[in-house]
Chain length 266, copies 2
């Protein structure tokens, strides 16, 4: 899995076109710099129920991997790919223009906007209140604190990241209608900040840890929740990516990452 970093200098010439969901849809991506989509986006998309019908926002969509994965799996979904970086938004538009994606293109649009905008600025950017049925997000991490840095700097990065999660979940809480859904993929260490940010906005949180192997700690956590619900959280069965030996995906992980099975069994 690749960590999201801002794209600085990718051009259309430096792109690859890659198949996802066993060729169900394709993605135009920066070949070198920038965030190349992978497992995280596919697992996030799998958190959306298979029978989802309605309008979904992919917040921080990059080239559109997670949002297009939802559009591909849920034939009654329309998706808005929300991306701040003009370069990545261009890749998303290029993805929509690929002939391989013609069957999805009329159900997906790109919105160039900063997810962390608030109040009138958010509305003006095209993200009004309660206009989506679902929001999914794969917020950037690695804001510095995985590198060996002095203690104070590490703490600052941690606070920055918690603040960003709060801002992203606040936006989701604003743009999703009551009883609508949200799903987020993040590192396990962000679980506390995610639950804090969801408090009062989302309930009925279902948490699915993602473990590389059954006996190893989780490397990701996927949290799905319901706007305005007061239901308590639950810890759902984990997703185990690999068998105890070898690098091939375990059967369930393969199905989940290829749009054949929902993460939460629906």
């Amino acid at each position: 899995m690749t960590d999201p970093v801002p794209v600085a200098d990718a051009t259309d010439d430096e792109r690859t076109v890659d198949a996802f969901h066993r060729g169900d849809f394709w993605l135009a991506q920066p070949a070198r710099a920038g965030h190349r989509a992978g497992m995280d986006a596919m697992m996030l998309a799998a958190a959306v129920p298979g029978d989802f019908a309605g309008r979904l926002a992919d917040l921080g969509a990059g080239a559109g991997a997670a949002g297009l994965a939802v559009a591909s799996r849920c034939s009654a979904a329309t998706v808005v790919l929300v991306e701040r970086s003009p370069q990545m938004a261009r890749f998303a538009r290029n993805s929509l223009a690929l002939p391989q994606n013609a069957h999805l293109a009329d159900r997906a649009t790109v919105l160039e906007a900063d997810v962390t905008l608030t109040g009138k600025a958010r509305l003006a950017a095209g993200l009004p209140d309660a206009t989506f049925d679902f929001a999914i997000m794969n917020p950037p991490f690695n804001l510095g604190h995985d590198r060996p840095t002095p203690h104070a700097l590490k703490r600052q990065a941690h606070v920055m990241e918690d603040g960003m999660l709060e801002a992203w979940i606040r936006t989701a809480g604003a743009i999703v209608r009551p009883r609508g859904g949200v799903a987020i993929i993040a590192r396990p260490q962000s679980l506390g900040a995610i639950l804090d940010a969801m408090r009062g906005r989302f309930g009925d949180a279902q948490i699915a840890p993602v473990h590389p192997r059954a006996a190893e700690p989780a490397i990701r956590v996927i949290v799905r929740a319901v706007r305005g619900s007061r239901k308590a959280l639950s810890l759902q069965p984990p997703l185990i990516l690999h068998g105890d030996s070898g690098h091939r995906h375990a059967p369930r992980a393969d199905r989940v990452c290829n749009g054949r099975e929902s993460l939460f069994g629906d």
Copy 2:
């Protein structure tokens, strides 16, 4: 697993004496009323590292199941069974007096005290600051909100339970020395409240969900953390109690619940 309820009227005549850890230690318990110890206490005790040496507090010890399970597995541990209810404290003393527990009795004592005491009252009750190397706790739940009750009442019970978790973890944060440990077993829905209460007191939280079967949601969560650590939390491999069919314990669950294996691999 039995839910903890206060003992009202149990007498010594109404007791059973039950083997734990395949007969390594025994427990005198109320036969009918009151909290009968079981899986929860054994899983909690298994969160303590096998090589633990030092002074451990079992907060809300009941008849002493979890604390004695630690004493049984960790031969260099001394345990203080902290229990508010005079009746349950008497069962704990009776447990220590059983001839079957003679090999443990000089490493265990009973302290009749309320875990939620604060300040001088806590000190006066025998729980001074930073005098323990570890604290374990299985706080009562079912403060009303599992029963079908009006919405407001349910919410109130939820707030009460979150407040109780805060009080118990605050006491653990006070009586455990820096770099000492804490472990708690609770329902998954309490995870947010537990992480909140640990913030600023404990870090390096390791979370182990307990699932009845691999494909079912967790019914318990065990959180172990380190006093004063700033390390981020981790989601550890879950404990699966049963195989996909049948009611016998899965091999690892059987070892963990019988003092043969630590929950966190140490």
